[in-house]
């Protein structure tokens, strides 16, 4: 299934990361000391470690340490953002690509990057670093109320609701999940909503929902496999949501596999997914 990957995700991550780079501000002198170790740009990294938050001005930035090196993951924004920060008290699965861009917040930039907060508690993940001279500038929002961009974005999104015109074609939608999680954040529920809109607008004859069990090959050679029960739960949650949103139950078929997808260390986040195919 990995050859069915949706490159749009990677593309949007790239755009976001580019925007984030604009946030990069002058580094304090000692930051460059940390770059003595050379990590080849383009190298893919997949590791589990405690996330770290740095108390930078404007908004905090998020980092993770791996093999003695600090990596920059993203900044705190809101649920409209592509990057969702991880959680202290939890380890994070970090899957990203080393960028050749200047460090941000003292960390080598991973871009694109996917971060999954792992569900079990790890109380040793509790590091809040001081700003140490690092700053975030020109972020879309700071630590206070939304500077009116949220309502503008919502209005823009409402205007962008697609009007479907015949001939209708089969469409495939993919919902990705954090590792070992069934929670669907707003970016995932937007996909489910779009499935409902398309299916009801074209009076779809069939919706196939298929769940896959994710796995990840870490850079250190270890392999992580999701819980076997997750694909079924994810599929049933999406089926239930679609029916609740008005899709006829009779046109929905579901299946899932508890056999883990084969990871290769390249965009393994795409293995933990539910694929929804809408057929006119």
């Amino acid at each position: 299934m990995k050859n069915h990957r949706m490159i749009s995700i990677r593309g949007s991550l790239g755009v976001i990361a580019s925007v984030l780079l604009a946030l990069f501000a002058a580094l304090p002198a000692h930051a460059s000391d940390k770059s003595a170790k050379t990590i080849a740009p383009g190298k893919r990294l997949s590791f589990v470690s405690c996330p770290i938050v740095r108390d930078t001005e404007m908004v905090p930035c998020w980092l993770a340490e791996y093999e003695g090196e600090l990596y920059y993951l993203g900044i705190q924004l809101d649920l409209q953002s592509e990057f969702f920060p991880p959680q202290l008290k939890h380890e994070a699965l970090v899957e990203g690509v080393v960028s050749d861009k200047p460090r941000i917040c003292g960390g080598i930039v991973l871009e694109p990057v996917k971060v999954s907060s792992l569900p079990e508690i790890n109380l040793s993940c509790n590091t809040i670093l001081p700003a140490e001279g690092y700053k975030i500038e020109n972020a879309r929002r700071g630590t206070g109320p939304d500077p009116d961009t949220l309502s503008a974005r919502n209005q823009a999104r409402a205007r962008q609701v697609e009007q479907y015109k015949p001939p209708y074609t089969q469409r495939t939608y993919t919902v990705y999940f954090d590792f070992d999680s069934t929670y669907m954040p707003s970016r995932s529920t937007r996909v489910v909503t779009e499935v409902m809109r398309y299916a009801t607008a074209i009076d779809a004859k069939h919706i196939q929902i298929t769940g896959y069990r994710g796995s990840a090959l870490l850079t250190n050679g270890k392999k992580m496999v999701e819980k076997a029960s997750l694909p079924e739960i994810r599929v049933k949650n999406i089926e239930s949501a679609l029916v609740d949103l008005g899709v006829k139950p009779s046109i929905i078929s579901t299946k899932w596999s508890d056999k883990p997808e084969k990871p290769d260390g390249i965009d393994d986040f795409e293995t933990r997914r539910v694929v929804i195919v809408v057929t006119p």
Binding site: L79, K89, G144, Y183, D244
Partner: protein, 544 residues
């Protein structure tokens, strides 16, 4: 009530009231909700079991005529008129109650009439003088005035447990000292259709100071297994801000679709109750009549319609501050007073151009320090600073289920308004069940007057994100309804209007006054408020 102040209301209220009546009439013509016979779909699945327990609790002969109506106490069945506009004194000044549809003769009105077997009406615990809730101070005054005979102290939930001697004030200590009523819910929980939910955790009673969870008749091992928790009554008012759902389809907290009104199929806010167990005002009223009023057979469609209509026409807000003076003045803040509640717009208030409680800039100016001191101006400046602290002052919000675990990161550096984000009322539009730490140990210190439960989650379910799989709690909150481990201790944020008249605060009455409320947050999130910031926040909260 006879001396309750009334004053002229602007024509806009009357127009709005008339419009509301018209809209209601149109709705009645097209909406099957208004059919003459009540549909059982409005009765939540947990209610029949509650009804069985409520009916098993003895009542005293309720004769509300025995108890004097005062300026501050609205006696059920008294028939007095609720004015279109009234003010009631409270510790910070005066709260305003605006009845948008005009003066209401309460004779026979189901909100004001004892409908059950214990002499209570809805108004018993939703007093206009107490911002349409009831304070612990009022409960104590009522005990003194009636020697504990007022129906407010009904054994079913106005005492720590019905099995206790009801003439002893110690048996009512949770109500008298903390403003808490017993909420009894079937365990295991039930779906809306009444089928049993298999909870993700076991529930053990560790401490039972009221005796009710281990009581052979009313407890968890009774013939009708019931868990008892103790909660404050919420405000009945400002419903145009509480009922609407902000998200179109999905609940941010769960990633699942927002629930629907079973009768209309319309989505609901899920923000009416502390644990969102009832989805509509109608189903809430039905349960309240069944439990709090001990009404057998619930309410008729006519009674339900009248109660819901009344609840939708009541607006509540502080109107006067004892030092700052009148809060509703020309050129003053645009978000204060009951009329502002009537005219305000529902929406997201965590936006720079649309602050949750409006703008206070005109009060921000430094007060004139020349002699004599202008104490009112100084207080208004303090209130404006408090509004800024509420809206802008960032701090690390951490380990809060329903916020930090939904993609925002743990910790999240934001302000009070991040969670208290609904325009005009300050609840959470999300909807807002959050484990802010008022119920679960160790974020809250052991409260010896409340029951303590040990909840052990199964290994195959997602744990509570910050407390794991073994959790000690005084009230499992939303988890008592869903059976979900991740929701243990999560309680819906309540609206922040009329605070000065309805201490104590939080669903379990944890904070005796506004200062303790501010201190709780300061400790909980290690905010480091200065003494000035704390006082400014208290002053700000007291004028909402």
């Amino acid at each position: 009530m006879s001396s309750a102040k009334t004053r002229k209301i602007s024509r806009s209220i009357l127009v709005a009231g008339g419009a509301a009546i018209l809209v209601g009439a149109i709705a009645a013509a097209v909406n099957p909700l208004h059919a003459s016979n009540r549909s059982d779909s409005s009765v939540s699945g947990h209610v029949p079991a509650q009804g069985r327990q409520a009916q098993s609790v003895p009542t005293r002969a309720g004769n509300t005529d025995d108890y004097e109506t005062t300026d501050q106490w609205f006696t059920p069945g008294s028939g007095q008129v609720l004015p279109q506009f009234s003010q009631y004194a409270n510790p910070a000044g005066k709260v305003e109650i605006l009845n948008a549809n005009g003066p209401l003769p309460t004779e026979g009105h189901p909100f004001f009439t004892p409908l059950g077997s214990n002499g209570r009406a809805c108004v018993t615990c939703h007093q206009p003088s107490d911002s349409m809730s009831i304070s612990a101070a009022t409960a104590r005054a009522r005990w003194e005035a009636t020697q504990g005979k007022d129906p407010l102290f009904a054994a079913v939930d106005g005492s720590n447990c019905p099995s206790l001697p009801q003439d002893d004030p110690k048996s009512h200590s949770l109500l008298l000292d903390h403003g808490l009523f017993r909420i009894f819910l079937p365990w295991p929980p039930k779906r809306p259709d009444g089928t049993r939910i298999e909870p993700e955790f076991t529930l053990e009673v560790v401490e039972d100071p009221t005796g009710c969870n281990t009581d052979p008749k009313y407890g968890l091992k009774s013939d009708n297994p019931m868990v008892s928790v103790y909660r404050r009554p919420k405000v009945v008012g400002n419903m145009k801000y509480i009922e609407p759902h902000y998200a179109q389809y999905f609940n941010l907290k769960t990633g699942e679709p927002l629930a629907k009104d079973p009768e209309t199929g319309n989505r609901v806010s899920m923000n009416l109750m502390a644990d969102a167990r009832n989805l509509t005002l109608k189903s809430q009223a039905f349960e309240a009549a069944t439990t709090h009023l001990q009404r057998k057979g619930g309410l008729t469609e006519d009674e339900l319609s009248k109660i819901v209509a009344f609840e939708r026409q009541i607006y509540v807000a502080q109107g006067e501050h004892s030092v700052a003076g009148p809060l509703v003045v020309p050129g003053g803040p645009n978000g204060l007073g009951a009329l502002a509640m009537l005219n305000g717009q529902y929406g997201l208030g965590n936006i720079v151009s649309n602050p949750v409680f409006g703008f206070f800039d005109m009060w921000r100016a430094e007060p004139n320090t020349t002699s004599p001191r202008d104490e009112a101006a100084e207080m208004r400046a303090s209130i404006a600073r408090g509004a800024d602290v509420f809206f802008f002052r960032p701090f690390w919000i951490s380990d809060t289920t329903g916020l930090n675990n939904i993609g925002l990161g743990n910790p999240l550096k934001r302000s009070c308004a991040t969670c208290h984000n609904a325009s005009m009322t300050g609840h959470d539009v999300a909807p807002g069940w959050i484990d802010v730490g008022t119920q679960n140990l160790p974020t809250v210190q052991r409260l010896s007057h409340l029951p303590l439960f040990k909840l052990t989650c199964r290994d195959d379910v997602e744990p509570h994100p910050y407390l794991g799989r073994v959790i000690y709690t005084h009230d499992p909150g939303r988890a008592l309804i869903t059976g979900r481990c991740i929701e243990i201790g999560a309680i819906n944020l309540q609206q922040m209007r009329g605070l000065a008249g309805r201490a104590p605060y939080f669903s379990n009455g944890l904070a005796r006054d506004l200062r303790e409320l501010v201190d709780f947050y300061d400790r909980r999130f290690n905010i480091g408020y200065t003494e000035q910031e704390k006082q400014d926040l208290v002053n700000f909260l007291s004028v909402l």
